[in-house]
C-alpha cells in the first residue's frame, strides 16, 4: 500500500478548502497547522475562541513569541493587519451565533450520518470538551481532519460512533491521511484518494459503505 499523508500534508489539503473572505476557526492539533498554508491570492480571517479575530501564521522563532498572542491550541502566533481582540463571551457569541463560515476540528470517530466524537478517549477520563461542542453546533460548515484509522489500524469512520458524541450530524467533510470524504444525505461520498491509494483500499479501512462517484480524484497537493 502507498504511504499515508503526514500531518503537515493533511493540513495543507485542509487549507485548500479556505475560500476568499471566509472566517475560519481552527481547532487544536492538526487543524491549527492549516493556518500556515492559506492558498496564495486568498484572504481568510482566522477566529480563535480565546478571543482573537484575524491572527496570522504560527510563530517560528523566539523573537516572535508573545505571551499575549496565542491561538486556541495554546500555540504562539503572529499578529496581522486588521486583527482584533475580545473576551470569551463575545468570542462564543461569534461561534454560537453562526458567524463562523468554516470550522476545522480533529476527530476520534465520525459516523456515516456525520456524528462527531472527539473529546473523550475511553480510559483517559475525564477528557476535555473545550470549545469543540460549541463549534460543532455553531459553525456553518464543519470539516474534520484525522488519521483514517486508529494506531491498531481500526476504522475511525464508522456506522455509529461508540465514543461520547461532540455533536450529532454536524460533520460536512472529512480529510484523512488517505482520503477526502463528503457527508451527504445519501451517505459518505469518496471525493479524493491520497496519491497511490485506490478506492477499494480506502473502503477496506472504512466501516460504512462509501459512495464512489465517477469523478473520483486523486488529491492534488
Amino acid at each position: 500500500m502507498a504511504e499515508r499523508l503526514d500531518e503537515q500534508t493533511m493540513a495543507l489539503r485542509v487549507a485548500r478548502e479556505f475560500q476568499n473572505g471566509m472566517v475560519v476557526n481552527l481547532g487544536a492539533g492538526t487543524p491549527v497547522l492549516a493556518s500556515n498554508y492559506v492558498p496564495e491570492g486568498r484572504e481568510v480571517i482566522f477566529q480563535s475562541e480565546n478571543g482573537c479575530l484575524g491572527y496570522g501564521r504560527i510563530a517560528q522563532t523566539d523573537e516572535e513569541r508573545d505571551f499575549n498572542l496565542i491561538n486556541a491550541g495554546g500555540q504562539f502566533v503572529v499578529g496581522n493587519l486588521g486583527m482584533c481582540f475580545f473576551d470569551h463571551a463575545e468570542s462564543f457569541s461569534m461561534i454560537r451565533g453562526g458567524h463562523i463560515d468554516l470550522c476545522v476540528l480533529g476527530g476520534l470517530q465520525v459516523s456515516e450520518k456525520g456524528d462527531l466524537a472527539n473529546w473523550l478517549i475511553p480510559g483517559r477520563e475525564p477528557g476535555a470538551i473545550g470549545g469543540a461542542m460549541d463549534l460543532a453546533f455553531g459553525a456553518a460548515k464543519l470539516l474534520v481532519v484525522m488519521t483514517h484509522t486508529t494506531k491498531d489500524n481500526e476504522p475511525k469512520i464508522l456506522k455509529e460512533c461508540t465514543y461520547y458524541l461532540t455533536a450529532p450530524r454536524c460533520v460536512d467533510m472529512v480529510v484523512t491521511d488517505i482520503a477526502v470524504i463528503e457527508v451527504t444525505d445519501k451517505g459518505l461520498v469518496l471525493k479524493e484518494t491520497a496519491p497511490g491509494w485506490t478506492a477499494a483500499e480506502v473502503q477496506a479501512l472504512t466501516e460504512p459503505k462509501l459512495i464512489i462517484p465517477p469523478d473520483l480524484k486523486v488529491m492534488s497537493l
Binding site: S48, E49, N50, G51, C52, A59, Q60, T61, D62, R65, D66, F67, N68, L69, I70, N71, A72, G73, G74, F76, F85, F86, D87, H88, A89, E90, S91, F92, I95, R96, I121, G123, R124, E125, P126, G127, A128, I129, G130, G131, A132, M133, D134, F137, G138, Y164, L165, T166, A167, P168
Partner: protein, 254 residues
C-alpha cells in the same frame, strides 16, 4: 474619592471564605492569569473552594532533585510567561473540592496530575462544561439572566438530566447562570475607578468574568492616572470591578 486599589494582594483576598465559588481568568499559556492573587489565596488557605475557569491549571512541577543535570529545551519550548502560577497551585494545596471547567485535560495513565488524582480519590468533583456554555453561564450571571437555552450539547451526554425545548424544529438545552462569590481577573492597566485594559489574547475569560461574581478583584500590571485610558479603548467598565491590586505597586510585587 473613589479608589479601589489595595496595597496588598493578601488584603484583597482576606475575606475569601471556605466553600466560596471563585471564577479565575486565563487560558492556556497566555499571560492572562491572576498569578499573584492565586498565590495570595494559597497563603490565605481557604478550603473547599469551587474553581470556575477554562481549565484547572497545571500547578507547579516538583523541583528536580539536587544535582540533576539541567537540560534546557529550545527557546520556543518555554511554555509559560515569567512569574507565572495558575489555579493548579490551589489544587496542589488541597484547597479545591470542585471544578467547573471546559478543559480538565486527559489523564496520563500511571502519572496522574494532582487534579486527576483528586478526581480518582473522590476528593474533587468535576462539572465539565462546553467552553462556550461556560462563557455564557458566566455572562448570564453578569447580566442578571438566571438561565438560557443553547444548541450546544443537545443530543449529547451534556444534555443528560437537563430540561430541553424545541425552537424552530431544533432541540435546545437549558443552562443556568453560575453564581459566584469572587472573580479573580488579570488585566494590563487599570485606573483607580477600576476601568481595565487588557493585552491581546490575555483578555480571554478575564473580560467575561469581570462583574460576574459578587466581588471582582482585578490584578493588573500597572495603575495609571484617571483619564489616561482612552475611553474608546476601555475593555471592562469600572462598574464591574470592586478591588484592584497592582503587581508593580503592591507589597508582594516583583
Amino acid at each position: 474619592m473613589i479608589n479601589k486599589l489595595y496595597d496588598s494582594f493578601d488584603k484583597a483576598v482576606a475575606d475569601v471564605f471556605d466553600g466560596a465559588v471563585i471564577l479565575i481568568g486565563g487560558f492556556g499559556p497566555a499571560d492572562g492569569c491572576p498569578s499573584y492573587l492565586i498565590r495570595a489565596l494559597q497563603r490565605k488557605g481557604a478550603k473547599n473552594l469551587t474553581l470556575v475557569g477554562n481549565g484547572v491549571g497545571q500547578g507547579r512541577r516538583p523541583a528536580p532533585p539536587p544535582g540533576a543535570p539541567v537540560r534546557p529545551g529550545p527557546p520556543m519550548n518555554i511554555r509559560r510567561p515569567p512569574n507565572y502560577d495558575d489555579s493548579g497551585l490551589l489544587v496542589q494545596n488541597g484547597q479545591v473540592s470542585k471544578a467547573i471547567c471546559a478543559f480538565p485535560g486527559h489523564s496520563q495513565l500511571g502519572n496522574l496530575s494532582p487534579f486527576h488524582q483528586g478526581l480518582a480519590d473522590g476528593k474533587i468533583t468535576l462539572e465539565m462544561v462546553p467552553q462556550g456554555t461556560l462563557a455564557e453561564r458566566i455572562r448570564a450571571a453578569k447580566a442578571g439572566i438566571p438561565a438560557f437555552y443553547t444548541r450546544t450539547g443537545a443530543g449529547t451526554i451534556i444534555a443528560k438530566g437537563k430540561e430541553t425545548r424545541m425552537f424552530d424544529g431544533k432541540e435546545y438545552v437549558l443552562e443556568h447562570a453560575i453564581k459566584a462569590d469572587f472573580a479573580l481577573v488579570r488585566a494590563h492597566f487599570a485606573d483607580r475607578w477600576g476601568n481595565l485594559v487588557y493585552q491581546g489574547t490575555s483578555r480571554n475569560f478575564n473580560g467575561a468574568m469581570a462583574g460576574a461574581a459578587k466581588v471582582t478583584i482585578a490584578e493588573v500590571d500597572e495603575m495609571v492616572e484617571l483619564g489616561k485610558l482612552n475611553p474608546e479603548g476601555i475593555a471592562t467598565a469600572s462598574i464591574y470591578v470592586n478591588r484592584l491590586c497592582s503587581r508593580k505597586d503592591s507589597r508582594e510585587g516583583p
